[in-house]
Symmetry: C2
Subunit: 132 residues, 2 copies
DNA sequence: GGTAGTGTACTGGTTCACTGGTACACCACC
DNA sequence: GGTGGTGTACCAGTGAACCAGTACACTACC
């Protein structure tokens, strides 16, 4: 598992770590039962404070993706992969909901919104926001 | 023109004012040439600082929606209504773009995304996020 | 039991966005 | 020219988010 963070990004470092781990677990790159890198190991690799990594991990634990065993490490739970896949879907649904509301407020029709989505779909691997 | 702000909201007050004025201009409620409420008048009405209103107005001026005449007031420009209508469309398009990207990253197909949009469309006047 | 690994609690500093208070510069009108 | 309206510049306070330093508690292993 290879992580990257950009300290200059607008999104907080701990959130970058969080989403990347979620992505890795969802993709099966980090299967259930597997140990995630220790906070110190990852903090040295990314050159950030151990607490920053720990904060991301705590969020992962709150989501039920990993479980901590003090003195041992943190491990992906049995339900972790499913949680991560579901989480991404929830994020998408929430975003869709906001988009639909915004479009309706702007006076767009359902058909116009559909058209807009179809127009943007081919550009889904956009150039922006890539972790350079 | 009747504005409302909720100080407890996560979105800044000046931004609430901004978007509401944009909406009013786009809807024709505030036609070109019309004077917008003075910063002091609006600040008293909303019980916020005049600078907070001024900040929203400066943003409106930067967008080309209004123009300031020192000592007189601020007035909707000739192109104001069109700018506001366009701006809402741009906001929607940007949001659609992000949503599409998120959906693709989550592994959704184009068809699944379309389905999601159609599911959410009937809820476009949703209950959440209303200015209580 | 010592050691080296793990996660975690507490605390402090830094930065930034937002808001408000005050004072200033301008214009119309009497 | 005085008065009362306008927008605006400057500065200070506040609060939250983020991150790092340090010290602690725990576990496995020799």
């Amino acid at each position: 598992m290879r992580l990257r963070v950009s300290p200059d990004s607008a999104v907080p470092i701990y959130e970058q770590i969080l989403s990347q781990v979620v992505f890795a677990v969802a993709a099966g790159d980090l299967p259930a039962g597997e140990a995630v890198p220790s906070v110190r190991e990852l903090s040295q690799q990314l050159i950030v404070n151990a607490n920053t990594v720990a904060r991301a991990y705590q969020e992962l634990e709150r989501l039920g993706v990993v479980e901590a065993r003090r003195g041992v490490g943190m491990f992906v739970t049995d339900g972790g992969p499913k949680v991560c896949r579901d989480r991404r879907k929830v994020l998408v649904r929430d975003r869709v909901r906001e988009t639909v509301r915004e479009a309706a407020a702007a006076g767009l029709s359902a058909e116009e919104l559909r058209q807009l989505v179809d127009d943007e779909w081919p550009r889904r691997n956009g150039t922006a926001k890539t972790p350079h």
